[in-house]
Symmetry: C2
Subunit: 110 residues, 2 copies
DNA sequence: AATATATACATAATTTTCTTATGTATAAGA
DNA sequence: TCTTATACATAAGAAAATTATGTATATATT
């Protein structure tokens, strides 16, 4: 699982943004959602996703809730209050970064 | 030197793009150009820049030419033919990535 | 004259953040 | 039966930064 190079640093923003919209999601669901939304362009690897989720949880941005569905384990993650605030920051940072890159790539329009 | 987080993976694209426009540039000049074009938003650290330039040279994407100006050393870099081709690819990849991220961040507009 | 800042290169140690490769386990489909 | 999908996890390694140094010259400031 992996395709077009994920620019390092953007995975956290993706996770937070999805959780900001969907209230609660589990890991596998996130991988599928990203795949769907990007029409297969972006594939989140498990090796990147799970450690990222654990880190966000350790930082207090996410809460976990374990559930058993169809005899299979699911770990539902949701944003904490801090996580919601941090999501705003991350989204601003990303928007800023895209603007900055566009300024570099299209200097005439600056 | 460092300010807003450089999304890892984009530095090479920035270097190639600048060299595609300016024919030849030296390292320090690149740091100043990026600073100017982004109004100080993005600051390229030397610890990132010089290894990146060396790598691009080793890969055959850049040629170097050493010059002495005001008794100070300058290493002018310019794109090779391969480098020019790779620049096109990198710019496409970046544009693609920005589109992908926008699809994720703005799912309604998709 | 002394000191700080700007110019110009470089590298080493460390950190962050991925990819790749595994591993476990259940359920469903071919 | 075997493969694919679902669902988690971690370890090894690579890539690409940051941070901290180091060297050296030139210019501006005190």
């Amino acid at each position: 699982m992996s395709n077009s190079k994920l620019y390092k640093g953007s995975l956290t923003t993706i996770i937070l943004k999805l959780l900001n919209e969907h209230d609660k999601m589990y890991g596998y669901e996130i991988t599928q959602k990203v795949k769907a939304l990007t029409k297969g362009e972006l594939k989140i690897t498990e090796g990147a996703l799970y450690p990222a989720l654990h880190k966000l949880e350790a930082e207090g941005l996410l809460d976990v809730e374990v559930a058993k569905v169809d005899n299979r384990l699911r770990k539902y993650y949701k944003l904490t209050e801090t996580g919601t605030k941090e999501t705003v920051n991350k989204l601003e940072e990303l928007a800023e970064y895209i603007k900055t890159m566009q300024a570099l790539m299209n200097p005439k329009l600056a």
